[in-house]
């Protein structure tokens, strides 16, 4: 007769924790560490050495990357734009229509695509020099780029001043013309600086605007190209009226201005202006975030499973609560570490391939492991406590809220910390144990910034003190929770467990 000893009220077990078995006598510490190792190894094996983990950790990300590149490649295959652009030009001398005619003339189009190709080649060669991109890859990229923007073949149709706009709309809708553009003298007028915006319900200010009527069949990128062209012609005319040479103006405003930034530190000079370097903090943040969340999730689910399948007491007949807790923490910590190693290895291999390995500050890597351990131990201990306190995954939702909050914080901190890694927010986040590892890894991986030594040491100590406190709290909840079935505790109830324990 299976007898249920479910505890419908969590209260009776409160006070249990202090009475649960404590550490074994010193003479048994050897066997204790062996038991912890056995538990850790099982946790690792049952999680990391499975097909599900391989699929989740390796195959799935590969598929996502593949899909992203696939979509990117598909984007390159754009059909060329062919058709008629109807223009109703009410400006003096119909300057806009004439400008557009010149713009879309075959000679101008050929000249434009030649210039674009030159620019692309220059960029590709620069990249090849800087990052060591192989020659054939440069060719490939150029080929792709020329596919990307086939020269449009657009003929211009000038509409008479008294054209029936309703009929023209019908043509646009039916796709007979690419679009219908209507410009007036107002379009060329400059809206004075500081002019108040038209009030609610008032007619829109005609100054500076033109009409662009298109049907549904016009592809969005073609619409963009057409509008860009129209606007360019309008701007050129405005430059001319202001007595400027549009070609000269564009040449000046398109000229390259770039800082050759150098950071001077005690260790020497570092280059600090590469795009890769700018996203490094984010990469390192994601690395430890992903590692610690993965390990933590597995901890929660594993503990829930052990409770749900009632295997918990069987295990506790062979080891103490403390050995089980530490064994699980260590085992899943290794899982997260393995995952991080896979991703970091792929990342480093890619960096080596693109000759940017030297841009990654080598000193950050060991710190990444340290901060991963810190982040994981903190999150993992919380997850372990939640997993042990409830019986079903649904019940975990309510208790999961504080963990969610915690996992959002690094992302809230990201922008202020990237903006100014030396701000008081950065320092505060570094000394607040739940965010210490995330904040510090983001600050350390910015080559243009040097974390003060006292902050590095102090915040690391603070972080690990926080970890010790969290494990201590989690152990109390774990001790009470593991053998308790029935109604899940509230967050307040959990705090009571800690107090009683």
């Amino acid at each position: 007769m299976p007898k249920s000893s479910s505890q419908s009220d969590p209260a009776p077990l409160v006070g249990e924790a202090s009475r649960l078995s404590r550490r074994p006598s010193p003479s048994h510490s050897g066997s204790a560490s062996k038991k912890i190792a056995v538990i850790a190894w099982r946790e690792f094996r049952a999680t990391a050495l499975t097909r599900a983990f391989f699929v989740g950790a390796v195959v799935l990300p590969a598929l996502i990357w593949g899909a992203m590149f696939g979509v990117g490649a598909m984007n390159f295959r754009r059909p060329p734009m062919e058709g008629t652009l109807a223009v109703l030009d009410a400006t003096r001398d119909s300057v806009v229509a004439s400008g557009l005619e010149a713009h879309f003339s075959p000679e101008a189009a050929a000249e434009r695509s030649r210039r674009e190709r030159e620019a692309l080649e220059r960029i590709a060669k620069e990249q090849a020099l800087q990052f060591g991109v192989p020659e054939d890859e440069v060719e490939q990229r150029l080929a792709m780029a020329s596919l990307a923007e086939p020269a449009p073949r657009v003929t211009l149709e000038r509409l008479p001043a008294d054209a029936d706009m309703q009929a023209q709309r019908g043509r646009a809708r039916a796709g007979e013309v690419l679009a219908v553009v209507s410009v007036t003298e107002d379009t060329l007028t400059l809206v004075p600086q500081g002019a108040p915006p038209p009030g609610e319900g008032a007619a829109p200010d005609p100054r500076g605007s033109y009409q662009f009527i298109q049907g549904e069949t016009l592809r969005p990128e073609h619409a963009r190209t057409l509008r860009r062209s129209v606007e360019r012609v309008i701007e050129d005319e405005r430059f001319r009226r202001a007595g400027m040479d549009p070609v000269a103006v564009r040449a000046v405003s398109n000229a390259r201005t770039e800082a050759d930034a150098v950071l001077v530190t005690r260790e020497g000079e570092k280059k600090s202006n590469d795009a890769l370097v700018r996203i490094l903090p984010f990469i390192f943040l994601m690395l430890i975030f992903m590692g610690s969340m993965t390990g933590g999730q597995y901890l929660m689910m594993g503990t829930l499973e052990e409770k749900g399948s009632r295997v918990m007491e069987v295990i506790l007949s062979a080891c103490s609560v403390r050995e089980l807790l530490l064994g699980k923490l260590i085992g899943q910590g290794l899982v997260g570490l393995a995952l991080m190693a896979v991703y970091a290895g792929v990342g480093l291999a890619a960096a080596r391939n693109f000759n940017v390995l030297s841009q990654i500050p080598a000193g950050v890597l060991p710190w990444t492991v340290v901060y991963y351990l810190m982040a994981y131990a903190f999150l993992g201990a919380m997850m372990l406590a939640v997993g042990s306190a409830v019986t079903e995954i649904r019940e975990a939702q309510a208790l999961y809220a504080p963990i969610m909050l915690l996992t959002f914080m690094p992302f809230l901190l990201m922008f202020p910390l990237l903006e100014n890694p030396g701000s008081w927010i950065a320092t505060a986040a570094s000394f607040f144990p739940p965010t210490t590892p995330f904040a510090m890894v983001m600050r350390l991986s910015q080559p243009s910034y040097q974390v003060p030594l006292w902050e590095l040491v102090g915040s690391t100590i603070a972080g690990f003190l926080g970890v010790v406190a969290m494990i201590w709290i989690a152990a109390k909840v774990f001790r009470v929770g593991v053998l308790m079935y029935g109604k899940p505790p509230t967050l307040l109830g959990l705090l009571k467990w800690i107090r009683y324990a």
């Binding site: 078995s21 066997s31 007491e313 069987v314 007949s317």
Partner: protein, 331 residues
Amino acid sequence: MPEGAIVIEGVTKRFRDKTAVDQLDLVVPTGSLCGFLGPNGAGKTTTIRMIMAIFLPDEGRVSVLGRPSAAESKDRIGYLPEERGVYRKMRVGEFLSYIANLKGLGGACLSRKIDDWLERVALPDARKKRCEELSKGMQQKVQFLASIIHDPELIILDEPFSGLDPVNARLMRSLIEEMHRQGRTIIFSTHVLHSAEQLCTRIFMINKGRKILDGSMDEIRSQFDPKTIVVEPLSGEAPEAVRASLASVPGVHAVAHAGERRTFEARLDAVADAGAVMRSIVERVPTRRVELRRATLEDVFVHLVDPGDSEDVLREMLGDPAASSEVNADA
């Protein structure tokens, strides 16, 4: 004084306002096979968890295998908890070797040992199967193996028979008996009184956290001797004549006859010699059967536990078809 395998002295355990175990004293002699009985909620599982140092008592002391806490000798104890399970995705062989490793057992002999044991509990092909593929009864046997795979000196089984069919219940009994013969100390809690009666050399019974019975099976039998002789006369005898004959036997105090049944019960005087009375009955009444009724644990249980305390338990133990099917398996 010989130290018992388990010595419990003045142990009290409270869960906030409820006292689960109250001033319990208990000695489990080394090498004994003890049944641990009591109605639901009597405190059996709580007591066992205190023995296992999963709970620690509020008052009193527990010593296990000569040490102040089972935590120090978990590798020498086999424990089958009441709340038991397996890792569903783990293979049976892996599960058993994991538990064995945790208990300090390893090496090449472990693998052979697991095979031997699986063979013995009639699960020879289970080793490579995932635990979730097994039926509940099969899982029970795997859990039992997990608790004894490391050859413990002390074996504690909480409800070992629950969920087992008659064949497997019998297998479990024979394994328990065998381990007892090997000199191990065994204590098990059960609701199946018949099994306890057949197996145990010693019985403890608790109710409402207090011990109400503690002794060897023989002591308990003599203590609760009903002093009743059951007589079944040959067919054709007039009931009134049989009743009169029985009443005239010296030493018989009263005769009861249950209407539809064919049997009579002759209650004896406190000082009567049962053997002499039986001989006299055989001389005076033509009988098919004469039998000195022995105290069954069921009688003792009913005598000791106020039905008001645990009506559900009585129902469960006396009238429940599932429970009686397990009892019948003994026949």
